[in-house]
């Protein structure tokens, strides 16, 4: 019945103008504003530490913003048919990193930036895995039982997770687990199967922390855990110890007090807190701008998460909802773990703070995730518009 309309449009009317203008723009304004706000916060914080890094971060943010805009114009649904391709890319990238990174002994290649590629693979892998898992769940949900689905998803997620943890990048591995968990949860899997997923995550952790050292894996995660649980066990003056980072971060954050030390926030600026532009950038932020600044930035993250949850609920299809759910888990987990480490309620786990941490791959990955969200949002608006549905949340 609709064939006539499609093939013979009304005289003088461009089909594109049929859609309302707001739908063509398609961006969630609050989500976009919050992301830009975080980008500005990142630049301001970096500006107090390293001018060169601030300038480069500005470039990363601009490229990321552009990537988000481009991605938001595509229909994410097309990614479903590419799922196995995405998975192969994910595994291959991580394997290459493992092969290259293995030769650099003793230290995590990711955190000190010897191998930029290592960093990129595990960061970009977050988005790739989320899209793949969402597609896999959507395609399998009608054919398989809940138990089978969980088992397969577990297996498929476990492969990249274990590889990344072996890199060793425990932080990204945990993000993978959290994202997989969220995807399954939103997909409607029964609670008992989710409990099994949780058990899997714990087992993976235990494997790394306890069995890992026995077979010659890097043991820094175990040391960090020890340092966190028993500060006295690690010499406080050892500049390389995890405790040293965390204690100095804690002191710097505390010194910020209500409104921050401003330009005299020297502890973080003077590199007394290691990784002050990446894993511990929150310490620099909190020292310079105090509780007010830290709370403001946390509010921006809360805004992003609220909008993302809204996108999950309003997605036009399950695939979109699951992608958005994975992304919400990814962002919330990273913020919680990164800030949690900085404020000393979690052991040191190298996780970047989305959009704030200095680094191209972290910024780009986050913006790609935001681009997917924008696309899901836009497609939902289009679908709702053609059906006369009204979105509200």
């Amino acid at each position: 019945m609709s064939t006539n309309i499609i093939h013979t449009p009304q005289q003088g009317r461009d089909p594109a103008t049929l859609a309302p203008r707001s739908i063509r723009i398609g961006l969630d304004p609050i989500l976009t504003a919050a992301a830009i706000g975080l980008g500005i916060a990142s630049l301001v914080t970096l500006g107090g530490i390293s001018h060169a890094q601030m300038v480069r971060q500005g470039g990363y943010l601009a490229v990321g913003l552009l990537a988000m805009l481009v991605l938001s114009r595509f229909d994410y649904s097309r990614l479903r048919e590419l799922k196995w391709g995405l998975y192969v890319i994910l595994i291959a990238a991580i394997l290459v990193v493992l092969a290259v990174g293995k030769s650099i002994g003793g230290i995590s290649t990711r955190s000190i930036g010897i191998s930029v590629f290592s960093f990129q693979a595990s960061e970009l892998g977050k988005v790739l895995l989320i899209v793949f898992l969402a597609a896999f769940v959507v395609d399998s949900s009608r054919k398989t039982s809940g138990r089978q689905l969980v088992a397969r998803v577990m297996l498929l997620a476990l492969v990249p997770t274990m590889l990344v943890i072996g890199e060793p990048d425990l932080g990204s591995g945990l993000v993978y687990v959290a994202a997989a968990f969220a995807v399954l949860y939103i997909a409607g899997v029964e609670a008992k199967y989710l409990a099994a997923v949780l058990a899997l995550g714990v087992a993976a952790l235990a494997l790394v922390l306890i069995a890992g050292p026995l077979i010659g894996f890097h043991t820094y995660q175990a040391e960090r855990l020890t340092a966190f649980l028993d500060p006295g066990a690690v010499p406080a003056r050892d500049i390389s110890s995890a405790l040293y980072q965390q204690q100095n971060s804690l002191t710097a954050i505390g010194a910020g007090q209500k409104f921050g030390l401003g330009s005299v926030a020297t502890s973080t600026a003077a590199n007394f807190v290691p990784l002050n532009t990446t894993d511990f950038i929150f310490a620099a932020l909190a020292e310079r701008f105090g509780f007010a600044g830290a709370a403001f930035v946390l509010s921006l993250y809360a805004l992003i998460i609220w909008r993302t949850l809204r996108i999950v609920a309003g997605a036009k299809n399950l695939f979109g909802a699951l992608i958005a759910a994975g992304i919400v888990a990814m962002l919330a987990f990273q913020v919680f773990v990164n800030v949690g480490v900085a404020v000393d309620i979690l052991p040191v786990t190298g996780v970047t703070l989305p959009l704030l941490s200095y680094g191209g791959s972290s910024v780009l990955t986050t913006f790609l995730a935001l681009g997917l969200l924008q696309s899901i949002h836009a497609q939902a608006r289009i679908a709702a518009g053609t059906k006369g549905r009204v979105l509200s949340f």
Binding site: Y185, N248, G254, A295, I305, V312
Partner: protein, 659 residues
């Protein structure tokens, strides 16, 4: 409506909204935890953390090692170390260059009582960019008031630290100052040069004398203090850990402190006596060495300065005062180049004997003057006429006319006098173990005068080019002013050379070496002061190489003739220094010298050898503008010999008018 498979909607699970809600609640609970934790850290307990934040980092600060002692041959320290309060600057912690940094300089300068530009100069010249929190020494031995003032107002002095450091200590002050040498912070330029490579910026190193020559042994290994520092870089807590510095090894020398001291006392006495007699006597130098081993027993130069002035950075005032002295920083014993007067005559004698120009039986020199050609007339001092004398008598009485004849006879051909002088070490660097090895001086000949003329014409007469190195010589000083240049080498110059005058330039050390070679039968030594290297505890680390020597042919009979002449000069009643050494209870061989300088008072010289089975010694003494050799230098040498052999000391001046 037919949907493509891709757009086919998968059924949204019915519990979706509820599950999204649960997810939201979980996330916001986690955020709440973080927010509360931040509230606790920053608002409830923030002030405590703010205080803690001032003590964040452990910074390594280098502790300079105490330099190893320099000991005399009996183990008495000539140089040691002590602990002193110091103000230093860590350049990395200074405010950025500009008004802010200048303000710190000005404040510090006011407290320390020095010019702020001095501080800027020190920091700009000495401090090296990161890495390295190597503090640059601004002032040592600061007053307690300044020390406390700065320490209590550290916020006013970012980058400035006060601390205790090891400082070089010279217990004898000005005794042997030029031999021991000066210290100074290694400069940015020096850091790239081989003897100082690997040394941390700001380290105090030897810049001259033994301190420089044996720098690598004396330096030691710096320690490290791990100090808690606040954001301004100021140490605020007790040292959390440190590696103590390892003191440098000790340098044991062959110097004898008693003789060294007596040398300074003796030349000082000589100067004072000369001044009473109307001679200005501004400077003097002495060298004592063992003629058999080549080891230096004493070496000194006056005017001197307190060596401790350079153990810490000298103030501008002190430095100006030292510079105001007549070249107090120059070691005249090795770098003071003079005509040597009659002390040169034994060399002339050996040269002439070797060339067959004279024999033991040759007698000549009657009359008070001799004339060569038509214009050049040379006379004995005071117009004395000794009659015709043989070589031994000529040396004993220092008969100029005898040696004028020798000089005239030796002119040209193989230049036997110059050959003998070169053989005995004149005209080339002695190679003593001090930086530079000692100045070479000049043994003049026809080629030298020619080159000197050429250089003079090219450089000085042509324009404002500084005077050449040989400016001390008569030619360079007067020729341009007089509008003519000395013609090429004349017989008269060789006549002057025969009596140690003319263009001849030699240092006291070179004369001591030459006499030692005559005494020991032909070993021309490169003397050494350093003897062995000892650990800080005193154990032998390394025996330094013994003095090397070059052996020359020395005819025994000729040597005996010269020795007879020298012995007669000192201890026979007709000898020139008989009033000084006639009563001396030991056998000595010595020669006076009185070098004539145009427009100045005469320069007093004495070189003496005292044989001894165990402690033989050769001493060379010179007193600039001190009068006749017998009047100033000879009695000073006697005081030193008395000290060396433990004899009663008294001033026994000669009255001889002889050269």
């Amino acid at each position: 409506m037919i949907e493509s498979p891709l757009q086919r909607r998968a059924p949204l699970p019915p519990q979706l909204t509820r599950r999204v809600g649960v997810l939201g609640v979980v996330v916001f609970v986690l955020f709440g935890v973080i927010a509360f934790r931040l509230w606790y850290l920053q608002v409830l307990t923030g002030t405590q953390n703010a205080a803690k934040a001032t003590a964040l980092v452990v910074r390594p600060i280098a502790i300079a090692a105490p330099r190893g002692n320099i000991l005399d041959s009996h183990g008495t320290p000539l140089a040691g170390y002590r602990v002193a309060p110091q103000v230093a600057i860590v350049a990395d912690d200074l405010p950025p260059a500009g008004p802010q940094r200048q303000l710190v300089y000005r404040r510090l300068a006011r407290v320390l009582g020095i010019g702020w530009q001095n501080i800027r100069t020190i920091v700009d010249n000495r401090a090296v960019a990161p890495p390295g929190y190597a503090p640059t020494d601004i002032m040592d031995d600061v007053s307690k008031r300044a020390w406390v003032y700065i320490g209590e107002r550290k916020s006013l002095f970012p980058g400035v630290i006060v601390r205790q450091v090891y400082v070089r200590d010279y217990p004898e002050g000005d005794i042997g100052a030029v031999v021991l040498g000066q210290l100074g912070q290694v400069s940015t330029k020096e850091l790239t040069q081989s003897p100082f490579k690997g040394i941390a910026a700001g380290t105090v190193v030897g810049q001259s004398g033994l301190e420089a020559e044996y720098q690598s042994y004396l330096q030691g290994t710096p320690g490290v203090d791990h100090v808690d520092v606040d954001a301004a870089g100021y140490p605020i807590a007790a040292k959390s850990s440190s590696r103590l510095p390892v003191p440098g090894d000790q340098l044991s020398t062959s110097l004898d402190l008693g003789l060294e001291k007596e040398g300074y006392i003796a030349v000082d006495e000589a100067e004072n006596r000369a001044r009473l007699g109307g001679d200005p006597a501004p400077a003097a130098a002495f060298v004592a060495m063992d003629p058999m081993t080549g080891r230096v027993l004493a070496l000194g130069s006056v005017p001197s300065y307190d060596a401790n002035d350079f153990a810490t950075t000298p103030s501008t005032k002190t430095y100006t005062a030292i510079l105001a002295e007549d070249h107090a920083l120059v070691d005249r014993a090795i770098a003071g180049l003079y005509p040597t007067g009659s002390t040169f005559k034994p060399i002339t004698a050996l040269g002439a004997l070797n060339a067959g120009l004279i024999t033991a039986q040759t007698t000549q020199g009657t009359g008070s003057c001799v004339t060569f050609g038509t214009t050049q007339q040379f006379c004995n001092s005071g117009g004395s006429n000794y009659g015709s004398v043989d070589l031994v008598s000529a040396l004993t009485q220092s008969v100029d006319t005898y040696f004028y004849k020798v000089g005239a006879a030796a002119n040209g051909g193989s230049d036997p006098i110059q050959a003998e002088a070169h053989a005995l070490g004149l005209g080339s660097s002695p190679g003593i173990d001090l930086p530079g090895g000692g100045d070479p001086g000049v043994v003049p000949d026809a080629a030298y005068v020619k080159a000197l003329n050429a250089q003079y014409i090219a450089q000085v007469c042509a324009g404002s080019h500084p005077l050449p190195k040989y400016a001390k010589s008569q030619l360079a000083v007067t020729a341009c002013a007089q509008g003519y240049l000395q013609p090429a080498w004349t017989i008269g110059q060789n006549v002057l050379l025969a009596t140690g005058q003319g263009y001849l330039l030699a240092s006291p050390l070179q004369m001591a070496i030459a006499y030692s070679a005559i005494v020991n039968g032909g070993k021309v030594f490169s003397p050494k002061i350093g003897w062995k290297i000892l650990s800080p505890a005193g154990a032998l680390v390394q025996q330094l190489p013994a003095p090397t020597y070059r052996r020359i042919a020395l005819n025994r009979a000729y040597r005996a003739l010269v020795m007879d002449g020298l012995h007669g000069a000192a201890q026979s009643p007709s000898g020139t220094s008989y009033p000084t050494f006639g009563s001396f209870p030991r056998t000595v061989y010595g020669k006076t010298g009185t070098a004539v300088h145009a427009g100045q008072k005469d320069q007093s010289w004495y070189v003496v050898y005292a044989p001894d089975a165990k402690r033989p010694i050769v001493i060379a003494v010179t007193v600039e503008q001190g009068g006749f050799g017998a009047a100033a230098a000879a009695p000073a040498a006697r005081l030193m010999l008395s000290q060396w052999f433990g004899l009663p000391k008294h001033w026994a001046a000669g009255v001889s008018q002889d050269l």
